[in-house]
């Protein structure tokens, strides 16, 4: 499509978020493109790699300790998207810092590191370690704290549902992260997402990412039981696009906090909808799983205008 007349932001140029300049506004979403080391050898006509033109890879969320994740099945495809319950399977932040991040730096992958924890102060610990390990890195641009992780201390509720906890987590991370962008990834499963965004902004986040997955469930009619062993999963893909747009709009209009839009983006048109509402960047998740060149494709179409 040709770009609409209202379109002014120069999405091809680098842009600034907090203390960092990012090479582009089309990112991949956490959990949907692993650690940014996969697919470098993939080919398709028109692209050298799936990373071409991508502004940042938000890496799979890592936690203080490694996690083996949830039992299978972890994914359930629906006509309008998918629900997942991966259970934050990850190598742990120490292995990530030792083995993954240096490779990303070597390969020149613009990186935002996603972190989750069960106690606010752990965000500080992980950010401090990150800062120590990667202080001189050129391609590590920032941290996204994933606030949708079950908070063990508070009885299984999402961390991110309470503005005070959000502020504590952001504050802990910010205090250890002097010169990288700090993003707080918000859950949509709340009454007032703008309140969370405001809390994150006041506590020092440079931006918020919205949205994480929407709580969803599917039933296996053969058994009458939920498809996923933990009943609920995170709904993503085309069906959450209108929800993500509404949440992003709410945050933009009620707070001054920059927003990175995520949710249901599969095409240039979808991405432009977020930019039209004022998002500073967007992330491609489920569509990136379907097609390793999805984000690169959107970035290419944007720059081609």
């Amino acid at each position: 499509m040709s770009l609409p007349a209202w379109w002014t932001t120069d999405v091809c140029a680098p842009f600034t978020l907090g203390p960092r300049r990012f090479p582009g506004r089309i990112w991949t979403a956490s959990g949907c493109f692993a650690y940014g080391l996969s697919g470098h050898d993939m080919r398709t006509d028109g692209f050298a790699t799936p990373y071409e033109g991508i502004g940042a890879v938000v890496t799979k969320t890592v936690t203080p300790a490694p996690r083996s994740g949830n039992p299978m099945p972890r994914l359930c495809e629906l006509p309008t998207g998918a629900i997942n319950s991966i259970g934050l399977e990850n190598v742990g932040y120490e292995a990530f810092l030792a083995e993954v991040l240096p490779q990303l730096e070597d390969r020149g992958v613009p990186t935002v590191v996603s972190l989750a924890a069960t106690r606010p102060e752990e965000f500080g610990t992980m950010c401090a370690a990150l800062q120590e390990a990667a202080a001189g890195y050129r391609h590590w641009h920032g941290v996204e704290i994933n606030l949708s992780c079950p908070n063990v201390a508070e009885g299984g509720h999402d961390f991110g549902r309470d503005p005070d906890t959000v502020a504590l987590c952001v504050d802990a991370a910010r205090s250890q992260l002097p010169d990288r962008a700090l993003l707080a990834k918000l859950t949509p499963n709340v009454t007032d997402i703008a309140g969370l965004a405001a809390a994150a902004g006041e506590a020092g986040a440079d931006a918020v990412s919205a949205i994480n997955t929407v709580v969803g469930l599917d039933v296996d009619l053969n058994t009458g039981q939920p498809v996923l062993p933990r009943r609920y999963g995170g709904y993503s893909g085309p069906g959450v696009l209108p929800i993500a747009l509404a949440k992003v709009d709410e945050i933009v209009r009620k707070t001054g906090v920059p927003v990175v839009g995520v949710g249901g983006i599969g095409s240039l048109e979808d991405a432009l909808k977020f930019f039209a509402l004022g998002a500073v960047a967007v992330q491609v998740g489920t569509a990136q799983m379907r097609d390793p060149f999805a984000a690169a494709q959107v970035a290419a179409e944007l720059s081609r205008r």
Partner: protein, 282 residues
Amino acid sequence: MKRINPLKALGAVRENRPVSSGLLRLDLELEGSCSAEAGFAPGQFAMVNLPGSQAFVFGRPLSILDWQGRRVSFLYRVVGRGTAELARLDQGSLVDVLGPLGGAFPRLADDQAAVLIGGGVGLPPVAAWLARHGRPGDRGYFGGRDGADVPWSQLEGAWQVSVDRHESIPAGREAFHGLVTDMVASDPELADAGRRVVLTCGPIPMLRAAARLAQQRGWDCYVSLEEHMGCGYGVCKGCVIPVLDEKVPTGEGFRNATCCEEGPVFRAEQVLWERYGALPTL
């Protein structure tokens, strides 16, 4: 074996036709320049998707029956929404292909012979192996539901056939009545003490029976496993298979290996069978 870089390309349907009562064969001609020099190793699969279709949020993993240059072939059974859409494709329709993905069945040492066991839609990877690497001592066994379900035209050469129901066997064909693994167990040709390796793909009960048989005989056994997949290329962790591993940091004695990237081919003794098998059996 040199790893073949996976590619993404559109493929035009050359043929999409039944080869038995339950199985269809899909032949594609890939488009674009990057697919000119493609290839695969038997055991690898591809994610097959319909461009722009809402039937598929994710691709459907299908084992590669053959892939030479621009020509790719699959063998599939209609089980749900996605495969039903595939079955409706006419000549010339476009399909999205991402592959080859995953690991392959091993090549064997000179003193080893293969026991290839394919159950139903598990045929493609073992048939591909036989076509590519087969030597005179290798033997293929295919298990179908009945004579009509067996894709006889795809089973030329070294194949022996078993059927669950001894019905509809075409004239001039022979089939063992019973489980394919029972056919293998009772094959006198395998009774000698030669070094053999089982390479198998099919329903889980069949794989377990094959693995047990191999263990009893002291043969190596490689199984090609299926799991629900999201991405198919290792980025979502949606397709894990529990494999035994004493050294995992979580201390649980096993770890989750991606079926799409570490697999789909695993050594049978590596698989923690008790924890595997969230999929309904086909």
